[in-house]
Each structure stands twice: as structure tokens, then as C-alpha cells.
């Protein structure tokens, strides 16, 4: 299997020689990344599709709100070719307009990557022609490259060496699409930083944003590898309580969604309370109620307001009950202290 697929990639190599040469010679042995790396992380309830919930208006509104918008963090320095700065004289109104447009550009950059289930493998055999067995020592890939066809809909079929004609599996599709319709930043062979042994090291260096950004560019959002990488990153952040790194980036929403989907929001709530973001905290609990409508919290939530909602969650479903209770108390005490001072 491995040998024949490598031959396949060499066939492809002929068609897009220059783009591929560098990468293929660089790590020949890794030409094939099998899909068997598959999904190890649980996605909670398999019967429900998280993407349907994720894209619903109310959930999107909550996620966008708790992400926040820090224009300076979003439009941080990106190393690129040097350009001369431009200087302009602006009136007060024009300055406001410029700031507004900068804010819009930053908002656009906060678009969240979809949170999806892993895609289903393709096993579509179109025809079996035993007569053709041994016609060549390598597989043939046929690709529809007509203009205007999206990568997802493109027709790609493979003729195996034993004569069967089948639809290309996802791995082959990704590589062929990258050959004929390349996306910038994506490389033919996935970077080694996504391998399990390197992933842990990169995460220990706190390069969360880099890891997630690069995964977005390299993989489709329903690729099992994308799901593995992002979920591991979220787990790592949750374990080390580094939530603030992702705040005001496009990944904060999916992270919150992942944690809520898997009942792991306790540490996130504690972190939010410590930072004095009680509104966000209440929003996360609301999100929890939307995602788990049959949970104890949801049943006891009627006509509760504000901080009471968080307390309800704490009593019913929290795993780190003691810690959460303590931080809620500390928050209330500080509130009381403030009101006394003002009075």
C-alpha cells in the first residue's frame, strides 16, 4: 500500500514538478500520511452533530461576545515584506472613520473555524475490471479540473493496479486538490509539528495560536487530523489554564464550544471570575444550558438571573465544585466591599 501510494505521488509529481520537488525530496519517507491516525478524542455525543448547534444564531452570538475584540491583538505585527509607512493628515471625523474601518477588518479576522464531526471515509467502487489487472505498476488518478468547480465537489477517481475504478479517498483528494488548486500556506505533506511526538513539545512552548492558525490553513475543518490537533490544543490549554492566550482570537469561540460540549467548563469559569468577567461567565452557563438541555442545570434554571445562574450550575453539574464556589464567594465579597466604599 505504502509503496504504491508513493508511486502515485510520484505520478502527481510529474504534473506539478517544481512545486512538489522541494517537499518530496525533503522527506521522502513521509510521502503518505495514512488516515488511520483517525480520531482518538471523543466528541461527546455522537448522535448529535455539533456543527448544527455551533452555527445556530444564538450560539454564534454568545461565542462572539465572549471572544471580545482587542484590535491591537488581532492586527498584531505579521512579518512580511517591508513597506514604506504612509503618513496622512486627518480630521477628527476621518480618524474616527479610519478607526471604524480598522475595527471592521479586525472583526472579519475573528471568523471562527467551524466545529465539526470528522468526515466519513469514502469507499465508493465504481467498477471492477479484472482484465486490466497488472496494466501498470502504478495507480492512475483522473481529475476534473474544469474551471469553477470547488475542491469539495471536484470529481476525482483512481484506477488501482488490480483494475478497480474507485472514487479517491480523502487523503488522495486533499493531495490532488493541493496540486491543481493550491491554497497558500498549505503544504503537500503535513508539517511534522502536527505529529503526536512534536505536538506536545510545541504546546509546552505555549505556541497555541500558531498551532491552531497553522492547522486551519493546513487541514479542512472536518479532517480527522484537524480535529485531533485542535482538541489536543484545547485540552492542553484547559489543563494549564492559559485561556487568556486565545482571548480575542478566532479560536476562543471553538475552544469554549469544545469545553462546553464535553462538560469541562469549570476551570474556564474560575478563570473568567478571577478576571472579573462575570457577564462572560453567565454567557458560558447559558451556552451550557443550550448545549445540554436535559442536564440538571437546565432543569433548575427557570427564572434565575445573573449570578444565580452560575451558582445553579455550580451546585448541579460542576466537577470542581469547591474551587468554583470559593471564587464565586470571593467575587461577591469584593462586590460588597466596593458597594460599601461607595456608600
Amino acid at each position: 500500500m505504502a509503496a504504491s501510494s508513493r508511486r502515485l505521488s510520484y505520478c502527481l509529481l510529474k504534473s506539478n514538478y517544481t512545486a512538489l520537488l522541494r517537499q518530496v525530496t525533503f522527506q521522502k519517507s513521509r510521502c503518505v500520511r495514512s488516515l488511520s491516525s483517525a480520531i482518538t478524542t471523543e466528541t461527546g455525543k455522537d448522535d448529535k452533530d455539533p456543527f448544527v448547534v455551533f452555527r445556530s444564531q444564538e450560539v454564534q452570538r454568545i461565542l462572539k461576545k465572549i471572544t471580545g475584540l482587542n484590535v491591537e491583538k488581532v492586527s498584531h505585527m505579521v512579518s512580511s515584506t517591508l513597506k514604506k509607512p504612509t503618513y496622512k493628515l486627518l480630521t477628527e471625523e476621518e480618524t474616527q472613520e479610519a478607526e471604524e474601518s480598522a475595527r471592521k477588518a479586525a472583526e472579519w479576522k475573528l471568523q471562527m473555524p467551524p466545529f465539526m464531526l470528522p468526515r466519513k471515509p469514502i469507499h465508493d467502487i465504481l467498477s471492477k475490471d479484472p482484465d486490466l489487472e497488472g496494466f501498470d505498476s502504478s495507480k492512475y488518478v483522473f481529475t476534473d479540473i474544469s474551471f469553477g468547480v470547488s475542491n469539495k465537489e471536484r470529481l476525482i477517481v483512481v484506477r488501482d493496479t488490480d483494475g478497480t475504478l474507485r472514487k479517491a479517498d480523502w487523503d488522495e483528494r486533499d493531495r490532488v486538490n493541493q496540486v491543481y488548486n493550491p491554497t497558500t500556506g498549505q503544504v503537500y505533506i503535513a508539517p511534522k509539528m502536527f505529529d503526536d511526538e512534536n505536538l506536545e513539545r510545541v504546546l509546552n512552548d505555549d505556541k497555541y495560536i500558531y498551532m491552531l492558525d497553522r492547522a486551519c490553513v493546513q487541514f479542512e475543518p472536518d479532517n480527522p487530523d484537524f480535529i485531533r490537533v485542535t482538541h489536543k490544543t484545547f485540552e492542553h490549554i484547559n489543563k494549564n489554564r492559559k485561556f487568556d492566550v486565545l482571548r480575542s482570537t478566532r479560536h476562543f469561540g471553538p475552544m469554549t464550544f469544545y469545553l462546553t460540549w464535553n462538560n469541562k467548563i469549570d476551570l474556564l469559569l474560575v478563570d473568567m471570575i478571577h478576571r472579573g468577567l462575570m457577564d462572560d461567565c453567565i454567557d458560558v452557563v447559558n451556552l451550557y444550558v443550550i448545549l445540554h438541555p436535559t442536564s440538571k442545570t437546565a432543569n433548575n434554571m427557570q427564572d434565575k438571573q445573573d449570578i444565580e445562574r452560575v451558582k445553579t450550575y455550580c451546585q448541579n453539574d460542576a466537577e470542581n465544585k469547591a474551587e468554583l464556589e470559593l471564587s464565586i464567594q470571593a467575587f461577591e465579597d469584593s462586590l460588597r466591599g466596593k458597594s460599601k466604599q461607595t456608600a
Binding site: 512580511s80 517591508l82 471568523q111 500556506g185 511534522k192 500558531y210 498551532m211 497553522r214 490553513v217
Partner: protein, 192 residues
Amino acid sequence: MSVNQLKSLVLSLCKIPLFSSQMRLQPSYRVSRHFTQSVRRLQDAEGETEVPAEVNEKQKRFEVDYETSIQYLDSKAYKQCYGDDPVWKLYRRNFKGQLAPKTRKTCIRANKISTGNPCPVCRDDHLLVDYRNVKLLNQFISPHTGQVLDSMDTGVCQKQQKKLILEIFRARDYGYLEDSVPFRQYNYKDYY
């Protein structure tokens, strides 16, 4: 806790002889080694007769592994020698005329330094260009553009420059170095 551990590690490194011979810890000796060696060779030639074998032994280049090189970049000896500057900062090339030609092909031939003014990477035998040696690689990347600095700016010989480019590529592949990532926009309708 980890900071303290690091501190104690560095301190202990400074106390014990870190590198194979104590002489190598003296930075001034190391960088100007090629001068002193030639001087010593002259002195030796005047007096003794049995010397040539010993000289050959000494001329053999010390080969570092990447772990030692990483330790060296954190060590006191390195700090004394280079300070906070990149290793190529104070290096000056020798050339005739006003326009500098391309840097030389290589400084090391047959495991010996074959030139009077070896490039900033070759002259210090404890510097190893390796994808895990992030501190060294970072000195050869422009902080503004993220590109590898040209050898005309750094004075590194062609052999080391090629190695630098390759190892920086590898470091980015392994996630040791960060690269600028283009923004990816999603069309949600593709996934419905």
C-alpha cells in the same frame, strides 16, 4: 520552579568545565585561535623536532553535538564572547576594493580551517547549525520580514548558508520556529 531549576543548571554549567578541554572556555582564545595556532606553530618549529604529530592532533576540529551547542549558547563563556549581539555582528570580511564579492564556498576543508578569516559560524567550533538550536537560527532571521538574512549581510560562507536555510526550513516544519501563517477565510456554506 522551572526558572529556578534553569538558574541552577546554568550556574552548575559555569562551575564545572563544560567543554572537553578547559582551554576552550576562554573566549578570547577561541575566536583568535587561528592566529595563536599559527604563532604557536612557528614557535614549535623553531625548537622541537617531535612536534608535527602533536600539531596535527591539535588541528583536528572539535565536533559538537547539538545538545552541547545549545548549552553553549546559554553559557557564561558565550555571553563573555558575544554579549547580546548575534554572532556575525562584529565579523568583518577581508576583500580587495569597494564591492564585496560573494562569500567563499567553505571555510573548512579536510576537517581543518583552510582560511585566515573563517566565517562567523565556522570560526567558533561550538556553534552547530541544527534545527533544534533555535537561539542560533534566530540570529540569522530578519525580525521584520521573517526571511533568512543574506550571506552578504552576515558574511557566512556558502556551505553554512545553505545549511542555515535548510535547518530553518526544518525547524519551521517541526515547530521549533514560528512562521507567519496566512489568514484562512471560511465559507460556512461549504460545510452545510
